[in-house]
Amino acid sequence: MRAFWEQTVLGPLRDLGQQAVAGLSSLIGMLVLILLGLMLGWLAKEIIYRILRALRFDRLCDRIGVGLVVERTGLARSSSYLAAQIVQGLIILTALLAGLNALGTPLTRNLVERFFLYLPHLLAAFLVLVVGALVSRFLGRSVLIAAVNANMPSARLLAGLTRFFVIALTVVAVLDELGISRTTIIVTFAILFGGVVAAAAIALGLGARDLARDLLQSQFRPKTHPEVEDPMRHI
């Protein structure tokens, strides 16, 4: 009878208890790791923010144009703060992954493994996004100044279009890098872009040739007619 109790009731209960203790310790381990990560992240953020401010990191970012992007998008109160927040986020993320790993289940292990495999794509996408934002701003400004200096009435429109196309290309490249519905995005972009061009061509060629000519003339031909050669002697 005693053996029966041992085998059918107490044994499974003991196993359950052991499993519960093991699971609980893993859970506590995970919570401790996450808590540590949160504390360490906050500490790192404060230290890095102060160091970057002392090193005038904001001024450097302003010079290369990142400062303005940060300011306009409202991502953070300054570039130094954003950099410190990124470090904080990375530490918390690492702690979270370590915590998940500490659970030791096949599911969490698989999740952590997949995350690390995906990390290079994330970093590459981030880099492409930053470069794209900077290039769009630079090209947009180049077009704006050149168009204003050429007396084109639609200078701001041209600059805006330039920025839009560079950003659109960047977004496609980023999504492609992240592997998000790669084929769908490329096909959608190609169809949309091709469609816009085809529609414009048909409109110009058939439906509104005169209107398009007048519109283009009024928009893009300088209002005044500067001489072929500037007669002024500036120097």
């Binding site: 100044i145 500036h234 120097i235």
Partner: protein
């Protein structure tokens, strides 16, 4: 060891001529139409004014494809027609060589300086190859102050139409004068006299792979000569008539080269100009005579339209460069009708100082920054034309003098706003 820019064949040719006292340099690029006249004027000038001095004429060519070097080799002056008083002791040697390095006038000058150094020249006169109004006397006026009065740098002084050289009048002359305290009326004139000592000094500077090697050479030489305390004077050359410049060189490109160089030199010599207030005249040599001037047409409707569009469309850029007050004043200026349009000197100078500060602080890409000045400069031109329409040359000169004084009066603002070097303290005064 310094980089050798001359080919062996050129060095041998210079050695064969031997040491010379005078070197005349003619940088050229596709100037076959005019270079013959310039070479002949140079030869006549040497025979007339320096018959007892050994001289060399050097054409430094930028790869002309219209036969400019051949024209230089063939150009000869009829010595008899010059009615020479003294018989020349030496024949005038001529040398034509392509220059090396970045394409531009500065690289041509570097080649000339190196040849002058090799030939131990005491004095150089450098003149543009597109001049139509050049006379033999110009060489006397550019060289004599160096050979007999021991000046190191002779800048040209021309009579110009009131609307000729508007970048010089609105920015380069008054700004350079206020910065370095010397009144050189044509700091980017194009014709210069340079002592052998100063040419050697120019060669030692590490600027030949920068914009100076392209088209910033004129202002660089003038600024270097003044800021480094070389003896500087001006020579009155009369009127300057030359072939129209390359139409491909657009206004904003010119501004980048010239104004960009002025701003960049402010960084090189900030320890000099921050200690200068007011200005002193530079000696003017030669005999100022009246000349007929070719009128320069200006379409003020167009310049005003450019200004108005610039103030409207480039606002996001100007917000980074100018103060809110300056921006508002520009906007109220842009709203004026053409018959009442005036851009006050104080506002114009404040705008230029703000651009100089923004250039130094790298508020945005430097080329973008200087190019964005174009519409504002055209606004100044509009205002200047409107104000001086019925003024005599003397009244116009007085007006430019007043602008110069405003540059000088507002200079403390520039000094105070200029970022200090590490460890440097701003003086209380």
């Amino acid at each position: 060891m310094a980089e050798e820019i001359l080919k062996e064949a050129v060095k041998e040719e210079v050695s064969a001529v031997g040491p010379v006292e005078i070197l005349i340099g003619i940088p050229s690029y596709n100037n076959a139409q005019t270079v013959r006249h310039v070479v002949k004027a140079a030869q006549a000038g040497l025979l007339n004014y320096f018959p007892d001095r050994k001289a060399l004429i050097v054409n430094s060519d930028g790869g002309s494809n219209d036969g400019t070097p051949e024209v230089v080799k063939q150009a000869d002056v009829d010595a008899q027609s010059l009615m020479l008083v003294s018989h020349p002791l030496y024949p005038v040697h001529r040398l034509t060589t392509p220059y090396h390095g970045l394409p531009g006038k500065g690289s041509a000058f570097r080649t000339l300086f190196r040849i002058a150094e090799l030939a131990h020249a005491h004095a150089l006169a450098v003149v543009d190859a597109d001049l139509r109004s050049i006379t033999p006397e110009w060489f006397n006026l550019l060289l004599q102050p160096i050979l007999t009065l021991e000046f190191d740098y002779v800048a040209p002084f021309y009579k110009r139409h009131k609307y000729d050289g508007t970048i010089t009048n609105s920015i380069v002359y008054p700004f350079t004068r206020a910065l370095y305290g010397r009144r050189i009326r044509q700091p980017i004139g194009g014709e210069f006299g340079i002592s052998g000592r100063l040419a050697g000094h120019f060669l030692t500077r590490d600027v030949w792979n920068t914009d100076v090697a392209r088209y910033g050479i004129d202002i660089w030489m003038t600024t270097t000569a003044i800021a480094e305390n070389f003896k500087v004077c001006q020579s009155y050359l009369g009127a300057k008539i030359h072939d129209p410049k390359d139409p491909g060189s657009h206004l904003s490109g010119m501004l980048v080269q010239v104004i960009g160089s002025v701003f960049s030199l402010m960084e090189t010599y900030d320890s000099v100009w921050r200690n200068v207030l007011g200005s002193l005249p530079a000696p003017l040599l030669g005999f100022p005579f009246e000349v007929g001037l070719e009128p320069v047409p200006i379409n003020v409707q167009r310049t005003l339209a450019s200004f108005q569009q610039g103030v409207r469309d480039l606002r996001p850029i100007y917000e980074k460069v100018l103060t809110l007050q300056q921006l508002r004043e520009l906007e109220s200026c842009a709203a004026q009708p053409i018959d009442k349009f005036v851009l006050e000197d104080e506002l114009w100078v404040a705008v230029i100082y703000s651009f100089a500060l923004a250039y130094h602080r790298r508020v945005l890409d430097r080329e973008h920054l200087v190019k964005s000045l174009t519409p504002l400069y055209l606004g100044w031109v509009t205002s200047f034309v409107h104000q001086t329409e019925n003024e005599t040359p003397t009244q116009v000169d007085d007006r430019i003098e007043r602008l110069c004084l405003v540059y000088e009066q507002l200079k403390p603002y520039l000094i105070n706003q200029w970022p200090l070097q590490t460890g440097e303290k701003r003086s209380e005064s």
